[in-house]
Subunit: 235 residues, 2 copies
DNA sequence: GAGTGGTCTAGACCACGGC
DNA sequence: CCGTGGTCTAGACCACTCA
């Protein structure tokens, strides 16, 4: 039999996935949860500890425990690892290049866990920092999960995709896996990023996951790393 | 005043840094530590929990708590994030290109926390996977910390640097920070890696740290990413 | 069976936030 | 002041390892 605290963690996670408690809001207090699960407070604590370590819950002493949200000050760029090498403050801007629907290729279908040929929304955009192009993004999400998604919404939301997924579609991006390579910019890429053809660019391929490790988004970012770098901590 | 468990953690960390307990060996049991610190077992537990989460200690149920070591099965490549995209098993080999001593430049000095002009050991090597060149590494360490380091040792140890730092010099690599970019291979790099000049390569710049976040090694890896990628988990 | 880490409990008290 | 999460304790029992 599983340890009790893992069962509690599972039940809390299920409630979160069901949307019983909304992002940014508080969940019941530890004592309340302990009572409703008929366990001690320490056991609930250990369950919440793990969820907090996974950035799914956020503890605030004296206030309560909250559901993590992308719709908050300072948590928008949680998954952007690219930072300025000079450490300046920068203004990020989003420029939509194209917004289409298409059929999932074999690769995209596998990444998103859908069948080949399933309709996906395909977004192409350029992110600029201080007016200069920095990242060319290709984003693909299953159309079925994002029925009312329009190009206007993306522009209006200023490209804060995960925030939009959360507030507009009730889909919470929890974690992601990235594969990073160095590639040469093709003609299209070089033009959009304003560099010469074959300039080396950082290729960052991302699969974003929600509860139960369900994929919700595939993304490919092509980044200029003349004045920026991808930061990674190892331990 | 700091929480008790953080004081305990600090004292345990100090003992580790002093080399009181050696890598791969077990530290005293939780009850013993609790007695010697005059705290409850739960408090020691919380301190060890954090050190285990940082991969500094390793718990083994029924056996004890051990000091993490690079000199163990399966922990040699703990910090190598580059993996085959095809997921094959691969044989890693180490080819020393050059081994010299030189004066630290401004940049290296800053990275290693030493004065400009301090003598550093400079290692240049090529890592091959399945006989093919994959990574060109530039490694620089302060000569003062590695007095008896010779090129023969590196060859003999098959390039397992962190293992060698630990077993031969008593220096434990605990964590690292990496900055990743895409750059074009210069003439020298392209020749050593067996690719055309200006091929895009992944530039991975690493600073390795030991206790108290003291830098022990600066490293630049230039990696081919035709059939490999750098894997990164975000949460 | 003895010794280790792992789980669980119950209760006390502390630190912080907000009414 | 009360309710929240954070710390600390003491003790019971479980699960695993090894002699």
């Amino acid at each position: 039999m599983n340890p009790l605290y893992l069962q509690v963690k599972k039940r809390i996670t299920e409630s979160l996935a069901e949307g019983l408690w909304n992002p940014g809001q508080s969940i019941p207090s530890e004592v309340e949860l302990a009572q409703s699960f008929s366990v001690s407070q320490g056991t609930v604590r250990k369950a919440i500890d793990e969820l907090a370590a996974e950035n799914i819950l956020i503890r605030r002493q004296g206030k309560g425990t909250f559901v993590a949200s992308h719709d908050e000050e300072g948590s928008q760029l949680r998954f952007l690892r690219l930072t300025s090498t000079q450490n300046n403050k920068e203004n990020l801007d989003n420029h939509l290049v194209s917004f289409t629907k298409e059929k999932a290729t074999n690769k995209i279908a596998k990444s998103l866990g859908v069948n080949i040929g399933t309709t996906v929304v395909s977004i192409k955009r350029v992110l600029t920092f201080n007016q200069k192009p920095l990242i060319l993004d290709f984003i693909k999400v299953p159309a079925s999960s994002f029925r009312k998604l329009t190009s206007e919404m993306i522009v209006e939301k200023k490209g804060a995709m995960y925030r939009m997924y959360e507030t507009e579609f009730g889909i919470q991006m929890l974690r992601a896996q990235e594969k990073i390579r160095a590639v040469a910019a093709d003609a299209d890429t070089s033009e959009l990023l304003g560099v010469k053809k074959n300039t080396p660019v950082l290729s960052v391929e991302r699969i974003s996951l929600t509860y139960s490790d369900k994929p919700i988004e595939w993304r490919l970012g092509l980044c200029l790393t003349e004045n920026h770098h991808y930061a990674s901590e190892l331990d």
